[in-house]
Symmetry: C2
Subunit: 227 residues, 2 copies
Protein backbone atom coordinates (compact mmCIF):
# COMPACT_ATOMS: atom_id res chain seq x y z
CA UNK A 1 0.00 0.00 0.00
CA UNK A 2 2.72 2.46 0.98
CA UNK A 3 4.73 1.61 -2.10
CA UNK A 4 1.68 2.16 -4.28
CA UNK A 5 1.13 5.49 -2.54
CA UNK A 6 4.74 6.53 -3.18
CA UNK A 7 4.34 5.71 -6.86
CA UNK A 8 1.15 7.80 -6.99
CA UNK A 9 2.84 10.72 -5.22
CA UNK A 10 5.73 10.58 -7.66
CA UNK A 11 3.28 10.58 -10.57
CA UNK A 12 1.51 13.59 -9.05
CA UNK A 13 4.80 15.42 -8.73
CA UNK A 14 5.80 14.72 -12.32
CA UNK A 15 2.37 15.71 -13.70
CA UNK A 16 2.64 19.00 -11.84
CA UNK A 17 6.08 19.55 -13.32
CA UNK A 18 4.73 18.75 -16.79
CA UNK A 19 2.04 21.39 -16.27
CA UNK A 20 4.71 23.81 -15.01
CA UNK A 21 6.79 23.22 -18.13
CA UNK A 22 3.82 24.08 -20.34
CA UNK A 23 3.07 27.22 -18.32
CA UNK A 24 6.71 28.30 -18.75
CA UNK A 25 6.48 27.72 -22.50
CA UNK A 26 3.27 29.74 -22.60
CA UNK A 27 5.08 32.76 -21.11
CA UNK A 28 7.88 32.41 -23.66
CA UNK A 29 5.51 32.06 -26.61
CA UNK A 30 3.23 34.89 -25.48
CA UNK A 31 6.15 37.27 -25.33
CA UNK A 32 7.35 36.24 -28.79
CA UNK A 33 4.06 37.55 -30.19
CA UNK A 34 5.19 40.93 -28.84
CA UNK A 35 8.89 40.86 -29.64
CA UNK A 36 8.87 38.95 -32.95
CA UNK A 37 5.47 40.30 -34.01
CA UNK A 38 4.41 36.84 -35.04
CA UNK A 39 0.77 35.98 -34.29
CA UNK A 40 1.25 32.26 -34.85
CA UNK A 41 2.79 32.06 -31.38
CA UNK A 42 -0.55 33.24 -29.96
CA UNK A 43 -2.30 30.25 -31.53
CA UNK A 44 0.22 27.99 -29.85
CA UNK A 45 -0.46 29.67 -26.52
CA UNK A 46 -4.18 28.95 -26.98
CA UNK A 47 -3.43 25.30 -27.71
CA UNK A 48 -1.20 24.99 -24.66
CA UNK A 49 -3.89 26.54 -22.49
CA UNK A 50 -6.25 23.68 -23.31
CA UNK A 51 -3.69 21.20 -22.00
CA UNK A 52 -3.06 23.29 -18.88
CA UNK A 53 -6.79 23.49 -18.17
CA UNK A 54 -7.17 19.71 -18.54
CA UNK A 55 -4.23 19.14 -16.18
CA UNK A 56 -5.69 21.65 -13.71
CA UNK A 57 -8.81 19.50 -13.32
CA UNK A 58 -6.89 16.22 -13.41
CA UNK A 59 -4.39 17.22 -10.71
CA UNK A 60 -7.08 18.41 -8.29
CA UNK A 61 -8.93 15.17 -8.83
CA UNK A 62 -5.83 13.08 -8.18
CA UNK A 63 -5.02 15.03 -5.01
CA UNK A 64 -8.46 14.37 -3.52
CA UNK A 65 -8.29 10.69 -4.44
CA UNK A 66 -4.86 10.36 -2.86
CA UNK A 67 -6.15 11.90 0.38
CA UNK A 68 -9.30 9.77 0.41
CA UNK A 69 -7.51 6.50 -0.37
CA UNK A 70 -4.30 6.83 1.61
CA UNK A 71 -5.10 9.17 4.50
CA UNK A 72 -1.68 10.78 4.33
CA UNK A 73 -0.17 12.62 7.29
CA UNK A 74 2.66 15.07 7.92
CA UNK A 75 5.02 15.52 4.97
CA UNK A 76 2.92 13.54 2.48
CA UNK A 77 -0.15 15.57 3.32
CA UNK A 78 1.82 18.80 2.99
CA UNK A 79 3.02 17.68 -0.44
CA UNK A 80 -0.56 17.08 -1.59
CA UNK A 81 -1.77 20.38 -0.10
CA UNK A 82 1.12 22.16 -1.85
CA UNK A 83 0.19 20.41 -5.11
CA UNK A 84 -3.41 21.71 -4.85
CA UNK A 85 -2.15 25.27 -4.46
CA UNK A 86 0.66 25.10 -7.00
CA UNK A 87 -1.84 23.65 -9.48
CA UNK A 88 -4.00 26.74 -9.05
CA UNK A 89 -1.04 29.12 -9.41
CA UNK A 90 0.16 27.39 -12.58
CA UNK A 91 -3.28 27.61 -14.12
CA UNK A 92 -3.32 31.33 -13.38
CA UNK A 93 0.15 31.79 -14.84
CA UNK A 94 -1.28 30.22 -17.98
CA UNK A 95 -4.19 32.70 -17.90
CA UNK A 96 -1.78 35.61 -17.65
CA UNK A 97 0.18 34.26 -20.62
CA UNK A 98 -3.05 34.07 -22.62
CA UNK A 99 -3.80 37.70 -21.71
CA UNK A 100 -0.32 38.75 -22.82
CA UNK A 101 -0.69 36.87 -26.11
CA UNK A 102 -4.07 38.53 -26.79
CA UNK A 103 -2.82 42.04 -26.08
CA UNK A 104 0.35 41.39 -28.09
CA UNK A 105 -1.67 40.11 -31.06
CA UNK A 106 -3.49 43.41 -31.12
CA UNK A 107 -0.18 45.31 -30.92
CA UNK A 108 1.27 43.35 -33.87
CA UNK A 109 -0.94 45.38 -36.19
CA UNK A 110 0.22 48.75 -34.91
CA UNK A 111 3.55 50.59 -35.26
CA UNK A 112 6.25 49.52 -32.81
CA UNK A 113 6.51 51.29 -29.50
CA UNK A 114 8.97 51.43 -26.58
CA UNK A 115 8.76 48.36 -24.38
CA UNK A 116 10.24 49.91 -21.24
CA UNK A 117 11.65 47.20 -18.99
CA UNK A 118 9.38 44.50 -20.43
CA UNK A 119 12.23 42.29 -21.75
CA UNK A 120 13.89 42.21 -18.32
CA UNK A 121 10.50 41.66 -16.64
CA UNK A 122 9.87 38.65 -18.89
CA UNK A 123 13.27 37.17 -18.13
CA UNK A 124 12.72 37.63 -14.41
CA UNK A 125 9.13 36.30 -14.31
CA UNK A 126 9.96 33.28 -16.46
CA UNK A 127 13.09 32.58 -14.39
CA UNK A 128 11.13 32.82 -11.14
CA UNK A 129 8.52 30.40 -12.50
CA UNK A 130 11.18 27.92 -13.61
CA UNK A 131 13.15 28.15 -10.37
CA UNK A 132 10.05 27.85 -8.15
CA UNK A 133 9.28 24.57 -9.94
CA UNK A 134 12.87 23.39 -9.64
CA UNK A 135 12.65 24.20 -5.93
CA UNK A 136 9.47 22.10 -5.75
CA UNK A 137 11.08 19.25 -7.66
CA UNK A 138 14.27 19.21 -5.55
CA UNK A 139 12.61 20.26 -2.27
CA UNK A 140 15.13 23.09 -2.28
CA UNK A 141 14.25 25.64 0.43
CA UNK A 142 17.21 27.89 -0.34
CA UNK A 143 16.23 28.23 -4.00
CA UNK A 144 12.62 28.89 -2.95
CA UNK A 145 13.75 31.71 -0.65
CA UNK A 146 15.87 33.11 -3.43
CA UNK A 147 12.84 33.18 -5.78
CA UNK A 148 10.83 35.07 -3.16
CA UNK A 149 13.66 37.58 -2.85
CA UNK A 150 13.47 38.38 -6.58
CA UNK A 151 9.84 39.53 -6.45
CA UNK A 152 10.77 43.05 -5.31
CA UNK A 153 12.83 43.59 -8.45
CA UNK A 154 9.84 42.66 -10.62
CA UNK A 155 7.64 45.16 -8.76
CA UNK A 156 10.30 47.83 -9.19
CA UNK A 157 10.59 47.15 -12.93
CA UNK A 158 6.82 47.32 -13.29
CA UNK A 159 6.75 50.76 -11.65
CA UNK A 160 9.55 52.01 -13.89
CA UNK A 161 7.83 50.70 -17.01
CA UNK A 162 4.58 52.25 -15.86
CA UNK A 163 6.22 55.67 -15.38
CA UNK A 164 8.17 55.51 -18.61
CA UNK A 165 5.09 54.66 -20.67
CA UNK A 166 2.98 57.26 -18.88
CA UNK A 167 5.53 59.92 -19.82
CA UNK A 168 5.45 58.71 -23.41
CA UNK A 169 1.63 58.95 -23.53
CA UNK A 170 1.79 62.46 -22.16
CA UNK A 171 4.37 63.62 -24.69
CA UNK A 172 2.76 61.95 -27.70
CA UNK A 173 -0.99 61.28 -27.68
CA UNK A 174 -0.70 58.97 -30.69
CA UNK A 175 0.99 56.41 -28.42
CA UNK A 176 -1.77 56.29 -25.78
CA UNK A 177 -3.48 53.10 -26.76
CA UNK A 178 -0.29 51.15 -27.39
CA UNK A 179 1.43 52.44 -24.24
CA UNK A 180 -1.64 51.45 -22.26
CA UNK A 181 -1.36 47.92 -23.65
CA UNK A 182 2.30 47.68 -22.68
CA UNK A 183 1.39 48.77 -19.16
CA UNK A 184 -1.23 46.01 -18.98
CA UNK A 185 1.36 43.47 -20.15
CA UNK A 186 3.70 44.70 -17.41
CA UNK A 187 0.90 44.02 -14.91
CA UNK A 188 0.44 40.50 -16.31
CA UNK A 189 4.16 39.84 -15.86
CA UNK A 190 4.09 41.20 -12.33
CA UNK A 191 1.26 38.78 -11.55
CA UNK A 192 3.21 35.86 -12.99
CA UNK A 193 6.04 36.74 -10.62
CA UNK A 194 3.51 36.86 -7.76
CA UNK A 195 2.30 33.36 -8.62
CA UNK A 196 5.89 32.09 -8.76
CA UNK A 197 6.38 33.64 -5.31
CA UNK A 198 3.29 31.80 -4.05
CA UNK A 199 4.71 28.53 -5.40
CA UNK A 200 8.02 29.16 -3.64
CA UNK A 201 6.17 29.84 -0.37
CA UNK A 202 4.27 26.57 -0.79
CA UNK A 203 7.56 24.71 -1.34
CA UNK A 204 8.91 26.06 1.94
CA UNK A 205 5.75 25.04 3.75
CA UNK A 206 5.87 21.61 2.13
CA UNK A 207 9.47 20.98 3.15
CA UNK A 208 9.65 22.67 6.54
CA UNK A 209 6.01 22.66 7.64
CA UNK A 210 6.39 26.38 8.26
CA UNK A 211 3.99 28.95 6.83
CA UNK A 212 6.05 32.02 5.91
CA UNK A 213 3.31 33.92 4.08
CA UNK A 214 2.36 37.49 5.07
CA UNK A 215 5.75 37.95 6.79
CA UNK A 216 4.81 35.29 9.37
CA UNK A 217 8.43 34.17 9.50
CA UNK A 218 9.65 37.64 10.42
CA UNK A 219 7.13 37.76 13.25
CA UNK A 220 8.30 34.46 14.73
CA UNK A 221 9.95 34.43 18.11
CA UNK A 222 13.72 33.73 18.09
CA UNK A 223 12.99 30.38 19.78
CA UNK A 224 10.61 29.29 17.03
CA UNK A 225 13.04 30.38 14.33
CA UNK A 226 15.75 28.11 15.72
CA UNK A 227 13.63 25.01 15.56
CA UNK B 1 -15.19 11.42 17.17
CA UNK B 2 -17.65 12.13 14.34
CA UNK B 3 -19.51 14.66 16.44
CA UNK B 4 -16.26 16.41 17.29
CA UNK B 5 -15.39 16.43 13.58
CA UNK B 6 -18.77 17.97 12.71
CA UNK B 7 -18.18 20.72 15.26
CA UNK B 8 -14.75 21.40 13.77
CA UNK B 9 -16.16 21.50 10.23
CA UNK B 10 -18.84 23.93 11.33
CA UNK B 11 -16.19 26.13 12.96
CA UNK B 12 -14.15 26.02 9.74
CA UNK B 13 -17.18 27.06 7.75
CA UNK B 14 -17.97 29.98 10.02
CA UNK B 15 -14.35 31.18 10.13
CA UNK B 16 -14.31 31.18 6.34
CA UNK B 17 -17.53 33.20 6.31
CA UNK B 18 -16.03 35.64 8.83
CA UNK B 19 -13.06 36.10 6.49
CA UNK B 20 -15.47 36.54 3.57
CA UNK B 21 -17.36 39.23 5.45
CA UNK B 22 -14.15 41.16 6.03
CA UNK B 23 -13.14 40.80 2.37
CA UNK B 24 -16.56 42.19 1.36
CA UNK B 25 -16.10 45.14 3.72
CA UNK B 26 -12.66 45.77 2.26
CA UNK B 27 -14.18 46.16 -1.22
CA UNK B 28 -16.80 48.60 0.10
CA UNK B 29 -14.27 50.66 2.04
CA UNK B 30 -11.72 50.72 -0.78
CA UNK B 31 -14.30 52.13 -3.14
CA UNK B 32 -15.36 54.80 -0.65
CA UNK B 33 -11.83 56.21 -0.84
CA UNK B 34 -12.59 56.80 -4.51
CA UNK B 35 -16.19 57.97 -4.34
CA UNK B 36 -16.16 59.92 -1.05
CA UNK B 37 -12.54 61.02 -1.45
CA UNK B 38 -11.87 60.12 2.15
CA UNK B 39 -8.46 58.56 2.80
CA UNK B 40 -9.39 57.32 6.25
CA UNK B 41 -11.20 54.42 4.61
CA UNK B 42 -7.85 53.32 3.14
CA UNK B 43 -6.40 53.02 6.65
CA UNK B 44 -9.32 50.80 7.59
CA UNK B 45 -8.69 48.62 4.55
CA UNK B 46 -5.07 48.19 5.68
CA UNK B 47 -6.23 47.17 9.15
CA UNK B 48 -8.73 44.67 7.75
CA UNK B 49 -6.03 43.18 5.54
CA UNK B 50 -4.02 42.19 8.62
CA UNK B 51 -6.98 40.21 9.92
CA UNK B 52 -7.58 38.59 6.52
CA UNK B 53 -3.92 37.57 6.30
CA UNK B 54 -4.02 36.04 9.77
CA UNK B 55 -7.18 34.11 8.90
CA UNK B 56 -5.61 32.97 5.62
CA UNK B 57 -2.83 31.20 7.53
CA UNK B 58 -5.16 29.95 10.27
CA UNK B 59 -7.70 28.41 7.87
CA UNK B 60 -5.08 26.53 5.86
CA UNK B 61 -3.64 25.21 9.09
CA UNK B 62 -7.03 24.05 10.32
CA UNK B 63 -7.83 22.33 7.02
CA UNK B 64 -4.64 20.27 7.13
CA UNK B 65 -5.22 19.34 10.76
CA UNK B 66 -8.78 18.25 9.99
CA UNK B 67 -7.56 16.02 7.18
CA UNK B 68 -4.74 14.54 9.25
CA UNK B 69 -6.88 13.90 12.34
CA UNK B 70 -10.17 12.78 10.82
CA UNK B 71 -9.29 11.27 7.43
CA UNK B 72 -12.43 12.65 5.84
CA UNK B 73 -13.90 11.16 2.67
CA UNK B 74 -16.42 12.19 0.00
CA UNK B 75 -18.47 15.29 0.90
CA UNK B 76 -16.46 16.20 3.98
CA UNK B 77 -13.20 16.03 2.07
CA UNK B 78 -14.69 18.12 -0.73
CA UNK B 79 -15.76 20.73 1.85
CA UNK B 80 -12.22 20.95 3.20
CA UNK B 81 -10.70 21.07 -0.29
CA UNK B 82 -13.17 23.84 -1.20
CA UNK B 83 -12.23 25.70 1.99
CA UNK B 84 -8.53 25.62 1.03
CA UNK B 85 -9.32 27.16 -2.36
CA UNK B 86 -11.92 29.66 -1.18
CA UNK B 87 -9.46 30.77 1.49
CA UNK B 88 -6.95 31.59 -1.22
CA UNK B 89 -9.53 33.45 -3.35
CA UNK B 90 -10.69 35.52 -0.38
CA UNK B 91 -7.14 36.50 0.46
CA UNK B 92 -6.67 37.64 -3.13
CA UNK B 93 -9.92 39.60 -3.09
CA UNK B 94 -8.47 41.39 -0.05
CA UNK B 95 -5.28 42.10 -2.02
CA UNK B 96 -7.29 43.61 -4.86
CA UNK B 97 -9.18 45.81 -2.39
CA UNK B 98 -5.84 47.01 -0.98
CA UNK B 99 -4.70 47.87 -4.51
CA UNK B 100 -7.91 49.80 -5.16
CA UNK B 101 -7.54 51.71 -1.87
CA UNK B 102 -3.93 52.63 -2.71
CA UNK B 103 -4.75 53.86 -6.21
CA UNK B 104 -7.81 55.73 -4.91
CA UNK B 105 -5.75 57.42 -2.17
CA UNK B 106 -3.52 58.81 -4.86
CA UNK B 107 -6.54 59.99 -6.88
CA UNK B 108 -8.00 61.80 -3.83
CA UNK B 109 -5.37 64.49 -4.28
CA UNK B 110 -6.17 65.16 -7.92
CA UNK B 111 -9.17 66.80 -9.61
CA UNK B 112 -12.18 64.53 -10.09
CA UNK B 113 -12.45 62.53 -13.27
CA UNK B 114 -15.08 60.39 -15.01
CA UNK B 115 -15.47 56.98 -13.42
CA UNK B 116 -16.96 55.18 -16.42
CA UNK B 117 -18.90 52.13 -15.29
CA UNK B 118 -16.91 51.79 -12.06
CA UNK B 119 -19.92 52.24 -9.72
CA UNK B 120 -21.83 49.45 -11.46
CA UNK B 121 -18.70 47.28 -11.55
CA UNK B 122 -18.30 47.70 -7.79
CA UNK B 123 -21.90 46.79 -7.13
CA UNK B 124 -21.59 43.72 -9.32
CA UNK B 125 -18.23 42.50 -7.95
CA UNK B 126 -19.28 43.02 -4.32
CA UNK B 127 -22.63 41.31 -4.97
CA UNK B 128 -20.92 38.35 -6.65
CA UNK B 129 -18.55 38.01 -3.68
CA UNK B 130 -21.41 38.14 -1.19
CA UNK B 131 -23.59 35.71 -3.14
CA UNK B 132 -20.75 33.24 -3.73
CA UNK B 133 -20.27 33.11 0.05
CA UNK B 134 -24.00 32.76 0.65
CA UNK B 135 -23.99 29.90 -1.86
CA UNK B 136 -21.13 28.32 0.13
CA UNK B 137 -22.95 28.82 3.41
CA UNK B 138 -26.26 27.39 2.16
CA UNK B 139 -24.74 24.83 -0.24
CA UNK B 140 -26.87 26.54 -2.89
CA UNK B 141 -25.88 25.29 -6.35
CA UNK B 142 -28.42 27.46 -8.17
CA UNK B 143 -27.12 30.64 -6.57
CA UNK B 144 -23.56 29.56 -7.39
CA UNK B 145 -24.49 29.08 -11.06
CA UNK B 146 -26.17 32.44 -11.07
CA UNK B 147 -22.98 34.11 -9.74
CA UNK B 148 -20.95 32.46 -12.51
CA UNK B 149 -23.44 33.80 -15.05
CA UNK B 150 -22.85 37.37 -13.89
CA UNK B 151 -19.12 37.32 -14.68
CA UNK B 152 -19.66 38.16 -18.36
CA UNK B 153 -21.38 41.42 -17.44
CA UNK B 154 -18.37 42.45 -15.34
CA UNK B 155 -16.02 41.74 -18.25
CA UNK B 156 -18.26 43.75 -20.55
CA UNK B 157 -18.33 46.71 -18.15
CA UNK B 158 -14.57 46.61 -17.83
CA UNK B 159 -14.17 46.81 -21.62
CA UNK B 160 -16.60 49.73 -21.81
CA UNK B 161 -14.82 51.59 -19.01
CA UNK B 162 -11.51 50.88 -20.67
CA UNK B 163 -12.70 52.35 -24.00
CA UNK B 164 -14.39 55.33 -22.42
CA UNK B 165 -11.30 56.28 -20.43
CA UNK B 166 -9.01 55.69 -23.39
CA UNK B 167 -11.09 58.13 -25.45
CA UNK B 168 -10.90 60.65 -22.61
CA UNK B 169 -7.10 60.37 -22.47
CA UNK B 170 -6.89 60.88 -26.21
CA UNK B 171 -9.09 63.97 -26.16
CA UNK B 172 -7.48 65.57 -23.10
CA UNK B 173 -3.86 64.73 -22.25
CA UNK B 174 -4.22 66.26 -18.78
CA UNK B 175 -6.40 63.30 -17.80
CA UNK B 176 -3.91 60.58 -18.81
CA UNK B 177 -2.55 59.68 -15.39
CA UNK B 178 -5.94 59.72 -13.68
CA UNK B 179 -7.70 57.83 -16.46
CA UNK B 180 -4.94 55.22 -16.32
CA UNK B 181 -5.59 54.79 -12.61
CA UNK B 182 -9.31 54.31 -13.16
CA UNK B 183 -8.53 51.66 -15.78
CA UNK B 184 -6.33 49.85 -13.26
CA UNK B 185 -9.15 49.98 -10.69
CA UNK B 186 -11.51 48.49 -13.29
CA UNK B 187 -9.03 45.64 -13.71
CA UNK B 188 -8.94 45.10 -9.95
CA UNK B 189 -12.73 44.88 -9.88
CA UNK B 190 -12.75 42.45 -12.79
CA UNK B 191 -10.33 40.26 -10.86
CA UNK B 192 -12.54 40.36 -7.76
CA UNK B 193 -15.41 39.11 -9.91
CA UNK B 194 -13.11 36.35 -11.22
CA UNK B 195 -12.32 35.25 -7.67
CA UNK B 196 -16.03 35.23 -6.78
CA UNK B 197 -16.58 33.06 -9.86
CA UNK B 198 -13.87 30.67 -8.64
CA UNK B 199 -15.60 30.47 -5.25
CA UNK B 200 -18.92 29.68 -6.92
CA UNK B 201 -17.27 26.92 -8.98
CA UNK B 202 -15.79 25.47 -5.80
CA UNK B 203 -19.24 25.48 -4.16
CA UNK B 204 -20.67 23.47 -7.05
CA UNK B 205 -17.80 21.00 -6.81
CA UNK B 206 -18.25 20.78 -3.05
CA UNK B 207 -21.98 20.05 -3.28
CA UNK B 208 -22.20 17.94 -6.44
CA UNK B 209 -18.69 16.49 -6.67
CA UNK B 210 -18.60 17.79 -10.24
CA UNK B 211 -15.78 19.95 -11.57
CA UNK B 212 -17.34 22.50 -13.93
CA UNK B 213 -14.26 24.64 -14.47
CA UNK B 214 -12.93 25.37 -17.96
CA UNK B 215 -16.32 24.59 -19.46
CA UNK B 216 -15.98 20.94 -18.39
CA UNK B 217 -19.73 20.79 -17.74
CA UNK B 218 -20.57 21.94 -21.25
CA UNK B 219 -18.33 19.23 -22.66
CA UNK B 220 -20.08 16.50 -20.69
CA UNK B 221 -21.97 13.83 -22.59
CA UNK B 222 -25.78 13.89 -22.21
CA UNK B 223 -25.53 10.60 -20.26
CA UNK B 224 -23.08 12.06 -17.77
CA UNK B 225 -25.16 15.21 -17.34
CA UNK B 226 -28.16 13.15 -16.27
CA UNK B 227 -26.32 11.42 -13.45
Amino acid sequence: MQRHFDVDLEALRSTLLEMGGIAEDMIGHAVKVLTERDESFADQVQEMEKRVNALHIEIDDRCLKLIALHQPAAGDLRLIAAAIKINSDLERIGDQAVNIAETATYLCHLPRIKLGDIPRMVELAAGMTKDSLDAFSRRDVELAREVIGRDDEEDQLKSETFNELLALMQSDASTIQRAMDIILIARNLERIADHATNIAEDVIFMVLGKDIRHGAERRESPEAAQQ
